[in-house]
C-alpha cells in the first residue's frame, strides 16, 4: 500500500513539477541558455491548427490500433490456449513479428499494399472491382499504418493474454460449465472479468507503443502523408525539430508528450499495479 502510494505520488508530482519548470523556459538554439518565457510555449502550441490535427491523428491511430490489436490478440490467445495439437508451434508462429523493427514492418506493408504491385490491392480489386490507391487517400493510408501497427504488436499481446488465461483456475470454468453456461457466456462472465488487469496493462502499453514506437513505420511507409493524414505527434516533433530546426516548438512538444506519458504511467501504476509489470 505505502510503496504504491509513494510511487503514484512521485510519478505524478515529480514529472509535473519538472515539466512545468521546463515549459516556462525557452532554450536559445545558439547560446543554449534558457530564458523565462512564461506559458507562451504552450499557448503557441495549442493555437496551432497543425498541432491539433496531429493530436487528432495520434488519438485516432492509437485508439484504433489498441482496440483492434487487443481484440484480435485476445481472440488468437483464446484459440491457442485450447488443448490443441501443436499449440506451442502455433504460439511461436504468431509471436515472431514482434522481433521485427518498425522500419522493416513499414517496408513490408508498403509492398503488400502497393497500389500497383501489392497483392492486397489486387485481391480487393478482384473481389470488389475497386482499385484502391492506399497511399493517396488519407483515411486509407492511416488504415494501412494502423493494420501494420496492430500486426507488429500481436505477439506481445498474445503472450500476456495467454499468461492471463493460464492464471484462471480451471475449477471456475468447470463450475460455470456445470451450471450450464455456454462457451460464449463462460468467456464474458468468467474469463473476461478475470483478464481485466492484463487487459488494462496491455491497453496502456499498446497506447504508449502506438504513440511512441511507430516512428520508423510511418517514416518508411507514409512520411506522415498524404497531406499529413498520418502525421502522429512524434512525427511532427521530428519534422519541426530535426527537419525544420525549430527548437522552441519541438521542446514544447516534447513536454506535451512528457505530460501524456506521465498520465498514462500513473494510470498504469494506479490501476494495473506493479505486479503485472515486473513479474
Amino acid at each position: 500500500m505505502l510503496p504504491s502510494l509513494v510511487v503514484v505520488a512521485i510519478f505524478l508530482i515529480v514529472p509535473s513539477v519538472e515539466a512545468l519548470m521546463q515549459s516556462l523556459r525557452l532554450v536559445d538554439p545558439f547560446t543554449g541558455r534558457g530564458i523565462f518565457v512564461g506559458l507562451s510555449n504552450f499557448q503557441e502550441l495549442l493555437a496551432s491548427a497543425e498541432y491539433r490535427h496531429s493530436i487528432l491523428v495520434s488519438v485516432v491511430f492509437a485508439g484504433l490500433a489498441t482496440v483492434l490489436g487487443l481484440a484480435v490478440s485476445l481472440g488468437l490467445a483464446l484459440l491457442v490456449s485450447q488443448p490443441v495439437w501443436g499449440a506451442g508451434t502455433y504460439r511461436t508462429a504468431l509471436l515472431w513479428p514482434y522481433a521485427l523493427s518498425p522500419a522493416v514492418a513499414g517496408a513490408i506493408w508498403g509492398l503488400v499494399f502497393d497500389p500497383s504491385a501489392g497483392p492486397v490491392t489486387y485481391a480487393l480489386y478482384g473481389l470488389t472491382g475497386v482499385r484502391l490507391n492506399w497511399m493517396v487517400d488519407g483515411n486509407l493510408a492511416l488504415g494501412v499504418v494502423t493494420l501494420a501497427a496492430v500486426w507488429k504488436m500481436l505477439g506481445y499481446n498474445i503472450v500476456f493474454f495467454l499468461a492471463g488465461l493460464q492464471a484462471i483456475p480451471p475449477d471456475l470454468l468447470e463450475a460455470a460449465s456445470v451450471d450450464g453456461a455456454s462457451a460464449w457466456k463462460r468467456f464474458w462472465a468468467v474469463r473476461f472479468p478475470l483478464l481485466s488487469p492484463v487487459t488494462f496493462f496491455l491497453l496502456i502499453m499498446n497506447t504508449l507503443q502506438a504513440f511512441f514506437e511507430n516512428f520508423g513505420l510511418i517514416d518508411v511507409l507514409t512520411q506522415g502523408g498524404p497531406a499529413r493524414a498520418t502525421d502522429i505527434l512524434v512525427y511532427k516533433l521530428y519534422r519541426d525539430g530535426f527537419v525544420n530546426v525549430q527548437w522552441g516548438l519541438a521542446s514544447a512538444q516534447s513536454l506535451a508528450l512528457f505530460v501524456m506519458v506521465a498520465v498514462l504511467t500513473v494510470l498504469q501504476f494506479r490501476y494495473a499495479g506493479r505486479r503485472v509489470f515486473y513479474s
Binding site: A93, L95, S101, Y122, A175, L237, Y278
Partner: protein, 307 residues
C-alpha cells in the same frame, strides 16, 4: 471480482470440492468423440489460417526478394520464388551500402547490451547489497522515472546534450544515451534480493569486498538473467530507427534500419524486389536471436517494454 463469486457459487463449490464432475471418457461415447474431433479440426483450421495471415506479409516479402523487377507486376501477383535472388541481394547490398551498416548495427547493439548489463548490475547491486544508504529510494525512483520515458519524450534535450559534447555522428551518441536501463536494474535487483543475506555475510567474513562478492558470487548466479537481458537489448537496439536517423549525419555512421529507408526512397517506382532483399538482410539477425532463444524471449517480453 463479484463475477468470480457468482460463478463459483454454492453449487460449483460443492461439486468441485466433493465430487469432481464426471468427465466424458474418450471411448465411452462415440458422439462426443466425433464432436471432439470436429472441434479439434475447426481449431486447427482457425489457427492455421491465423498463422498464414500473420506470416503472409513477411513470406511474400521474402518471395519478392527473389523475383525480377518485371515479375512484380504480373497479374495475378506471382507467389512463387523467382530467379533474380543474387542480383537483388547484390543490388541491395550496393545501393544501401549494407556492409558498413551491418557492422555499425552490430557494434552499437552489442555495445549497448553490454553497457546496459554492466551498469544495471552495479546499480542493482548497490540497491540490494547496501540495504540502507541516504536517498536510496530517491535514487531508485529517479532511475525508474528517467528510463521509463520513451525516447521521443526526451529526444530534444538529449540531442542538444550530444551537440554540446560534440558526439553527434559518433558511436558515443549511438550507444551511451541508451546505457542506463531501468529494466536491467529492476531485473537484477529483484534477483539479488532473493540471495540469502548469509551468503554475503559469509563472503564478508572471508574478507571479500563488495565488488569481489558481486563478480565472484553473484555474477555466475545471474548468467541466465544476463543472457535474457542481452538478447532483449540487442534486438531493441538493432531495431532502433529514430535516434540513429537524427544523430548520424554521415554515410559511414548509418545503421541497417536507415538503410531500409535509403532503399525505399531510392527510386520513384519502388523496386520492391531490391527493397525486400535489403529488408531480409536487416531482419534476419534479430529474428535468429529471438527464434533461437524463444523461451527466454517469451519470459523476457515483460522486460521488453524497455525504453
Amino acid at each position: 471480482m463479484r463475477t468470480e463469486a457468482q460463478v463459483a457459487g454454492p453449487a460449483g463449490q460443492v461439486i468441485s470440492a466433493r465430487q469432481p464432475p464426471a468427465r466424458p471418457r474418450r471411448s465411452a461415447r462415440p458422439v462426443l468423440r466425433v464432436r471432439r474431433a470436429f472441434s479439434q479440426g475447426a481449431l486447427q483450421l482457425a489457427l492455421i489460417t491465423a498463422v498464414v495471415v500473420v506470416a503472409f506479409p513477411v513470406v511474400y516479402g521474402a518471395i519478392v526478394s527473389t523475383q525480377a523487377f518485371q515479375d512484380l507486376f504480373s497479374i495475378p501477383p506471382r507467389l512463387t520464388p523467382g530467379e533474380a535472388t543474387l542480383q537483388n541481394y547484390a543490388a541491395a547490398w550496393r545501393k544501401a551500402n549494407m556492409g558498413p551498416l551491418l557492422v555499425n548495427s552490430t557494434i552499437i547493439s552489442v555495445a549497448t547490451a553490454l553497457g546496459k548489463i554492466v551498469l544495471s548490475l552495479l546499480a542493482a547491486f548497490a540497491f540490494a547489497y547496501f540495504r540502507d544508504f541516504r536517498g536510496k529510494t530517491l535514487f531508485f525512483v529517479t532511475i525508474l522515472i528517467t528510463h521509463m520515458l520513451p525516447l521521443p519524450v526526451r529526444i530534444v534535450p538529449t540531442y542538444q546534450l550530444m551537440q554540446t559534447l560534440g558526439w553527434v555522428d559518433s558511436y558515443y551518441a549511438l550507444t551511451i544515451p541508451f546505457f542506463a536501463s531501468a529494466t536491467g536494474t529492476l531485473l537484477f535487483r529483484q534477483f539479488f534480493l532473493t540471495v540469502p543475506p548469509s551468503l554475503s555475510e559469509a563472503a564478508r567474513i572471508d574478507g571479500a569486498g563488495p565488488l569481489r562478492f558481486l563478480v565472484q558470487i553473484l555474477l555466475p548466479l545471474s548468467l541466465n538473467n544476463i543472457a535474457a537481458l542481452f538478447m532483449v537489448e540487442f534486438v531493441y537496439m538493432w531495431n532502433q530507427y529514430l535516434w540513429p536517423l537524427i544523430v548520424t549525419t554521415s554515410q559511414e555512421m548509418r545503421v541497417v534500419q536507415i538503410g531500409i529507408k535509403v532503399l525505399v526512397a531510392a527510386d520513384a517506382q519502388a523496386e520492391w524486389n531490391v527493397i525486400m532483399a535489403g529488408v531480409m538482410i536487416a531482419m534476419i539477425p534479430p529474428l535468429l536471436v529471438v527464434l533461437a532463444l524463444q523461451r527466454t524471449f517469451v519470459r523476457s517480453l515483460s522486460l521488453g517494454t524497455e525504453k
